[in-house]
Symmetry: C2
């Protein structure tokens, strides 16, 4: 009998084969004299994601060839899948003084270095149309794009020290998340991207996945968003949810430092590829992933993955339908599993949920776990108080 022994744990290879690591402490004497660029929140997040390997194989901000290739072909110029241009936009005035090695600063403090390569003009209109599928300035991603400088600085980054952010207890680099997965012996890990509180509908997706996958990486995005529940409230809500309803040994709550771009389908790809770099083997894509307003079709962010083979992606996409509680099934369901019509379903709009929370009303336990609803209600009371 031939026996195929499974390894004790399984970690996918990072995209491109190696986990990029561009974190290196440096002597101030080495950089104090260099020209400085103050980073925006988003560019600082990108610096961290690049340097810690979350964006492997990228080790720096894109040059023009890759920039155009990503926009046009959803791939780097060498063919590797990549969906969003990771660029460092500066004004023309800044560009003029930023040549060779420069310092990257936050509040004037040097946090990293950049070996600038080429400088090239951002194709904002082209980028908006292809990446965001709209030039409407009401789209927050498009608005941010148009507000940026007109020149992109390419080049390899160095991060002096990993920033541990607002939630240091939950902050882990890709290598650190991989170490946890290895320590727990998970054969498979499903990552869940979120920028919102987790209601029963999302919990249901996690639980469905956990019946078949060993571990859940609950990976809330904590960079800049335009959403209305602040990250600290969300983190508190995740903590109480996990404490009461998730098996501790199968769950890892860890922050994902990226900023939201609201690029819908394009951003879903980036979210999936970077989670592969964090060690996930599966990634959940629900309806309207990373969407905003009505710019994207409900399933666009699921269908866009058809542009790649399973081998290219290196992470399996678990595509889910809209989910909700059914009063006749007496359980969480989706149109895939429930035969009853909408009159049987408990569905609350985001607006309705916010109204109830502001009015200090309870959310139905079939919609939100009471412990989570309490956290949200207290947060809304504070906001209004």
């Amino acid at each position: 009998m031939t026996t195929t022994e499974l390894p004790a744990t399984f970690l996918p290879t990072p995209l491109g084969g190696t986990l990029v690591n561009r974190v290196r402490l440096a002597d101030p004497a080495e950089y104090a004299h260099l020209p400085a660029l103050e980073l925006s929140d988003r560019s600082f997040a990108d610096l961290e994601l690049l340097a810690t390997g979350a964006y492997s194989p990228l080790s720096g901000f894109l040059g023009e060839t890759d920039y155009l290739s990503v926009i046009e072909h959803l791939r780097l110029s060498d063919g590797t899948p990549w969906s969003l241009p990771i660029t460092l936009p500066v004004t023309e005035a800044e560009a003029a003084r930023l040549r060779g090695r420069i310092r990257l600063t936050r509040g004037g403090v040097t946090v990293g270095l950049l070996d600038t390569g080429e400088q090239y003009a951002a194709r904002k209109s082209f980028e908006a149309r292809e990446v965001y599928r709209t030039e409407d300035p009401a789209h927050p991603g498009v608005a941010a794009l148009y507000a940026q400088g007109d020149v992109n600085l390419a080049g390899e980054v160095t991060l002096l020290e990993v920033p541990r952010g607002e939630f240091p207890r939950h902050h882990r680099t890709p290598a650190e998340v991989r170490a946890v997965i290895e320590a727990r012996g998970w054969q498979s890990t499903v990552a869940f991207q979120t920028r919102n509180p987790i209601h029963r509908a999302h919990e249901y997706l996690h639980k469905v996945a956990l019946e078949l996958v060993d571990g859940l990486l609950l990976h809330p995005l904590v960079g800049t968003t335009n959403d209305d529940v602040p990250a600290d409230t969300r983190m508190q809500a995740y903590e109480v949810l996990l404490e009461h309803y998730y098996p501790a040994q199968r769950t890892l709550l860890s922050t994902y430092p990226a900023a939201m771009r609201y690029a819908g389908p394009r951003e879903a790809i980036l979210h999936a590829l970077s989670r592969r770099n964090y060690g996930a083997t599966h990634f959940i894509v629900g309806r309207d992933h990373a969407g905003v307003g009505h710019y994207y079709g409900t399933y666009d962010a699921q269908e866009i993955f058809q542009n790649f083979t399973a081998g290219e992606l290196g992470i399996r996409i678990l595509k889910f339908e809209h989910t909700f509680y059914c009063q006749s099934c007496h359980q969480m369901v989706s149109p895939r599993t429930c035969p009853h019509d909408a009159s049987h379903h408990l569905i609350l709009s985001g607006t309705k949920v916010r109204e109830k929370l502001r009015a200090g009303e309870a959310l139905p336990p079939e919609f939100t776990r009471p412990e989570v609803a309490d956290v949200l209600r207290r947060a809304y009371a504070r906001q209004d108080g």
Copy 2:
């Protein structure tokens, strides 16, 4: 942009590449004069499964080389995965008069033909130890093995007509199930083997699978079993369950004519491979699949699949844990998804369930859907009345 278009539907190739079809009407003049063998229930079921392709690549009862290879290596002599010897046992006296082409009969009526090849001695003790992992005659599969004749007749079968069994409305050959899958455009189909009524615990597995897989082939085994709920009661229970709780367009109830062998892990493999032949892409294996008593470890039937590569199997195994309702999660869970201990869980033993049904008591709706419980209660009342 390269787009990988998905086909409109997806059907796995049968094991061995081609769906065996050995169904052929024949003129009585062709066979009336041949020596006859009256088939047992199990051999008649095997004849149908062989002739309709459910056991592809087998087109007849195993010869000695394959028989020994299957017992020893879990493979046919050409290397194809196969786990249970499909044999036609006869007594020595019968063997002596059964040479060349013979008739296979049920109640004296010819139902098929067999071109007998070799005759060889069954290695009952070897078969019991390797296949059933026990020689205990209290094991129903072992008991059946020891009660059989001592000689196996090899040879290719012909089935004169597909028997439609007790439930003709739900009877479908592998080709017919494949045609339904194709008509419904399912990209993926999960098959569920059952020989028992379906409680919420099993429904939960189906629903978890259906969130990710397009269609469910509910495939109850209706051949000989030693279990206590008769097939007609089970079929009625399946019908009401599907009617009230499953989306009609994603579910197909179809009978699986095989007899139970209670060979645990070995039988799980046969169940999976034959469901591939029926067109399934996924197969559910829970705890103690096809087990009886305490002959097999809880997870043996899941672990045995490690003997094969994914490509060899050609069907994905969905391995599930024990599932139950949790009073604190307020939903169906498993130890994979629930953090609470056993005191929070609603678990009823089979004995307890039978007691309640015999006493005319209601089963908790978290354990069994009320419509299913009604069918079972009425059946138990009939049995006792």
